[in-house]
C-alpha cells in the first residue's frame, strides 16, 4: 500500500494506482475529457492536471497517468492547477465554442464564455482521441484514426471513405464526450433517437422497468459482438466483470404440480385507428409513453414536454381508444378511466396546462375511485363526454394554428366542439396477448372470443381453468386493475398452495371400466386413449383401464365394438334414457 496526501487528506491506495483514481476513491473530483476507465490513460486533454509538491518545488502532472508514490503531496485545486486548466479550456473553446461539456467546465472554472457560433459552422471534435482508442484498443478493428497535422488534424476513417473495417458497434459513439460522433453517421445502421417512445431496445438492456431480476440481458440477435465478435465495450465497462458472452439460453424442465398462468396483456397499438393520428403527429402519444415521460428517472426527468421540448398549454386525454368499440374491442378495458384521471392529476401538479378528458362514461368503480374522480372534478380538469371523431392539425381559425385539434361531439352540451391542444394522450385498449391462443393450447386452456383465457366459471370459479391444477391470475383472464390483479393472484397462489399442501389429487370419478367378461380383446380401444390409460392384459385376454390415468372422456366407451367398456356416470343406459326422456 502507498500512503499519500491529496488536498491535505491522507489517502491509502494500492501500489500502481494513478493519482486520478486515488482522488476518485477519496471523493475528490478531477475534471477530465479524455479519461475512461475502460482504457489505458492517454493524457491527451491535459485537463486532469494536478500539482505535486516535490522537494525541489511544485510540478504539474496529468493525474490520469501518473502513478502514486509514497508520501506524495498533491493539490488538485490550486490556482496554478486551475489556471493551467483554464488555458487548455480556452484553447479548446476557441476551437469548439459550442460544445456543452466545455462550456459547463468553463463555468465551473469561472471563465467567460465565448460567443456561440451557428451550429452548421461549429467544430465539436476536441480531438480527445477516445473514439480512436476505443476502436483500436477495445473493439480492436481500428476503423478510425487521426488524420492530418496541426490545424488539419481530425478523426476519420482511412481516406475519409466508408470503412469496411467498421462494424458499426457504436463504441465510438458511446465514448465521445462531445457528441461529435453520431450513430446516424454510421454506415448502413441508423439508430433512431427516440425521445419519447419506448423504441427498439438496446442490445444490452434491462427488459422493463422494475423487472425481476433487475439485471440487463444481451439481445444476441442485435448485439454487434455476436455478429462480429468485436466491440466488447460492455464487458470492458463492467467493473464486476459480470458480462459473459459464453452464456447460453438454457431450457430448464421443471416438474410441477400446479401452474399459475399470469401472462398478462398487451396494449393495443393505436396507430391502427388512424383518425387519432398516432404515429403521424409526434405529440399524439399513448398513456404508456406519457407515463415514461413523467417518470422522474425517464428521458425528460419527469417533465411534461411536447416534441418541441416546450411545456404544453393544453393536453387532451382520449379514453376508450380501441375499447368499447365494435370495430376493435367491444369490451371495456377497465383501467383507463382511472389512470386517465391520475394523468390529469399529474399534469395539473407538474404544469399549468389545461386538461381535457374525452370520455364515453366515467367508470370509477373501485374503492376510493369515485372519490378520486370527485377530487379531479374540483381540480379544474375539463370533462367532455363524447368520443372524439378525429385529431387533426388542420387549423380553421387563428387560435388553432400550430396546434392539434380534437374534434368531438360534446354529448352533454349537444354540440360539436373543436379543442386545440398541444398534446394528445391516448388510452389504448388492453388486449389479450397475440400468442394467447397458441400459449393456451399448451395448457388445454380455451380463450374467449377476445382472446383472454377462459376461466372455469365466470362467477363461481374465476381463477380455476378447465384443467385441474392450472390457475389464472391477472389480466391474462381479462382487463383488470392492480387491486383486482393482486387479489386474483393471491387467490390463485392460495389455490395452488392448497393443492400442493394436500399432496394428493382427486382422480376423476367418472372413469371408464372394461368388463372383462365382455371384452374380446380386439384392441380397438387401446390406441384411442389420449392418456394411454388402456392396456391389453395378455393374461386375461382383455383390455384394462388404469383408472388413475383415465380422465373419463368416454371415447373408448363409444368406440368399443363389444360395448364392453362402461363409462361411469355416463353409461350407455343412462344416456339412452336421457334421449328417451328428452324426446317425450
Amino acid at each position: 500500500m502507498v500512503s499519500l496526501e491529496i488536498n491535505g487528506k491522507t489517502v491509502e491506495v494500492e501500489e500502481g494506482t494513478t493519482i486520478y483514481k486515488a482522488a476518485e476513491s477519496a471523493g475528490i473530483e478531477i475534471p477530465t475529457l479524455c479519461y475512461t476507465p475502460i482504457m489505458e490513460p492517454y493524457a491527451a486533454c491535459r485537463i486532469c492536471q494536478v500539482e505535486i509538491e516535490r522537494d525541489w518545488g511544485k510540478e504539474l502532472v496529468t493525474s490520469c497517468n501518473t502513478v502514486c508514490q509514497e508520501g506524495m503531496k498533491i493539490i488538485t485545486d490550486s490556482e496554478k492547477v486551475l489556471n493551467a486548466r483554464r488555458v487548455i479550456l480556452s484553447l479548446l473553446l476557441e476551437r469548439c465554442p459550442n460544445v456543452e461539456i466545455l462550456r459547463e467546465m468553463a463555468i465551473k472554472l469561472g471563465m467567460e464564455l465565448p460567443e456561440m457560433v451557428p451550429e452548421e459552422e461549429a467544430e465539436t471534435c476536441i480531438l480527445c482521441g477516445l473514439c480512436v482508442r476505443v476502436c483500436a484498443e477495445v473493439v480492436g478493428v481500428e476503423a478510425i484514426s487521426f488524420a492530418g497535422r496541426g490545424a488539419e488534424r481530425e478523426v476519420s476513417p482511412p481516406f475519409d471513405e466508408e470503412s469496411e473495417a467498421c462494424i458499426t458497434c457504436g463504441a465510438c459513439f458511446s465514448v465521445c464526450p462531445t457528441g461529435t460522433v453520431k450513430m446516424e453517421d454510421a454506415f448502413g445502421r441508423k439508430v433512431p433517437i427516440d425521445e419519447l417512445t419506448v423504441g427498439p431496445p438496446k442490445s444490452i438492456a434491462i427488459p422493463t422497468y422494475q423487472s425481476v431480476p433487475n439485471v440487463p440481458f444481451i439481445n444476441t440477435e442485435t448485439c454487434i459482438h455476436f455478429q462480429t465478435e468485436g466491440c466488447n465495450v460492455c464487458a470492458k465497462m463492467c467493473e464486476p466483470e459480470a458480462i459473459n458472452y459464453e452464456m447460453e439460453d438454457e431450457i430448464i424442465d421443471i416438474d410441477v404440480g400446479t401452474i399459475v398462468i399470469s401472462t398478462g396483456f398487451q396494449v393495443m397499438n393505436p396507430s391502427g385507428i388512424t383518425r387519432y393520428g398516432y404515429g403521424k403527429f409526434p405529440d399524439v402519444i399513448t398513456s404508456a409513453e406519457f407515463e415514461k415521460m413523467t417518470n422522474a428517472s425517464g428521458l425528460t426527468d419527469g417533465k411534461v414536454v411536447t416534441s418541441k421540448g416546450e411545456e404544453p398549454k393544453d393536453i387532451a386525454i382520449i379514453h376508450c381508444v380501441g375499447s368499447r368499440d365494435v370495430d376493435t374491442h367491444a369490451y371495456c378495458s377497465r383501467v383507463c378511466c382511472m389512470y386517465a384521471l391520475k394523468m390529469a392529476h399529474l399534469i395539473k401538479e407538474k404544469t399549468s396546462a389545461e386538461v381535457y378528458q374525452f370520455y364515453i362514461d366515467m367508470r370509477a368503480f373501485g374503492k376510493g375511485y369515485e372519490e378520486f374522480y370527485s377530487r379531479l372534478l374540483s381540480e379544474d380538469v375539463r370533462f367532455i363526454r363524447g368520443k372524439p371523431g378525429e385529431v387533426t392539425n388542420i387549423a380553421i381559425c387563428a387560435e388553432e394554428e400550430g396546434k392539434l385539434i380534437v374534434s368531438c361531439e360534446d354529448t352533454l352540451a349537444g354540440e360539436i366542439r373543436r379543442i386545440p391542444v398541444d398534446m394528445v394522450v391516448l388510452c389504448p385498449a388492453i388486449e389479450a396477448r397475440d400468442d394467447a391462443r397458441e400459449f393456451g393450447a399448451m395448457f388445454g386452456l380455451g380463450c374467449t372470443a377476445d382472446g383472454f383465457f377462459l376461466e372455469k366459471h365466470p362467477k363461481l370459479a374465476p381463477i380455476e381453468t378447465a384443467s385441474d391444477g392450472i390457475y389464472l391470475a391477472g389480466a391474462c383472464q381479462g382487463p383488470k386493475d392492480i387491486p383486482d390483479s393482486v387479489a386474483q393472484g393471491g387467490a390463485a397462489g392460495a389455490a395452488a398452495l392448497s393443492l400442493i399442501d394436500r399432496g394428493t389429487i382427486e382422480v376423476e370419478s367418472a372413469t371408464a371400466m372394461v368388463v372383462e367378461d365382455w371384452c374380446s380383446g380386439c384392441k380397438t380401444c387401446n390406441l384411442l386413449c389420449p392418456y394411454s390409460a388402456i392396456e391389453f392384459d395378455e393374461k386375461i385376454g382383455a383390455s384394462v383401464v388404469n383408472e388413475a390415468l383415465c380422465k373419463g372422456c368416454g371415447t373408448c366407451v363409444a368406440a368399443c365394438p363389444s360395448s364392453a367398456i362402461i363409462g361411469k356416470h355416463f353409461t350407455d343406459k343412462q344416456i339412452l334414457a336421457e334421449i328417451e326422456g328428452a324426446l317425450i
Binding site: G444, A449, L454, G554, T555, G567, F570, A582, L583
Partner: protein, 161 residues
C-alpha cells in the same frame, strides 16, 4: 299448429355445453327446439345415440365439441367425433335420413353466439325438410283387416297390405 322440429344436441362438457351455458348467461335467445344432453367429450358420442335419437322422434341431431386441433379438453376426443361424422352421415343417408339432419359443429366455450346461430340454422333447415316422422306417438297403427280394393287396385294396394 306449425311444425316445430325437435333437435337433440349432444354437447361436450368443456366447450359446447359451456358455450350453451354462456348463451344462457348472456341471455342470448335461441329456439327451444333443441334439447341438450351433456357428454364429457364429443368422442363419447356413440353413433348409436344419434340413431336412437332419430328413432325416438328427433328431427335433427347436433353433435358439438371443441375446435380441432387443440381445444379438446381430452387432447383429441374431438378428432374421433370428426372421423365418425362422415361415415355416420353416409350410413344415415342409406337409412333414408337426410344428411342435413345431423350436424357436427365445433363450438368453443366462448361461442355462445355460434351455438345460437347453429341452432337457428338447423331449425330453419329442418323446417324445410319437414318432420322425420319417427316419433312413436306419430305412428298410427294400421288396421289389420284393411280390405283391399281388388277390382280396381291402386298401385300401392297391388301387393302391399
Amino acid at each position: 299448429m306449425s311444425y316445430e322440429p325437435k333437435i337433440l344436441g349432444f354437447l361436450c362438457n368443456w366447450c359446447a355445453y359451456t358455450g350453451a351455458d354462456l348463451a344462457g348467461t348472456a341471455r342470448m335467445k335461441y329456439p327451444s327446439n333443441i334439447r341438450i344432453i351433456r357428454v364429457m367429450c364429443s368422442g363419447r358420442i356413440d353413433p348409436t345415440f344419434v340413431l336412437k335419437a332419430f328413432e325416438e322422434g328427433a328431427d335433427g341431431v347436433l353433435m358439438a365439441g371443441c375446435h380441432p386441433p387443440s381445444d379438446c379438453h381430452y387432447q383429441n376426443g374431438n378428432f374421433k367425433a370428426m372421423r365418425r361424422y362422415p361415415l355416420l352421415k353416409k350410413l344415415l343417408s342409406q337409412l333414408g335420413i337426410e344428411e342435413d339432419r345431423l350436424r357436427l359443429e365445433w363450438i368453443s366455450a366462448a361461442e355462445g353466439d355460434k351455438l345460437v346461430r347453429v341452432v337457428n340454422e338447423m331449425v330453419d333447415r329442418l323446417k324445410e325438410l319437414g318432420p322425420l316422422g319417427l316419433s312413436k306417438s306419430n305412428v298410427e297403427p294400421l288396421e289389420e283387416s284393411e280390405t283391399l280394393n281388388i277390382d280396381n287396385p291402386t298401385e300401392e294396394e297391388n301387393y302391399v297390405k
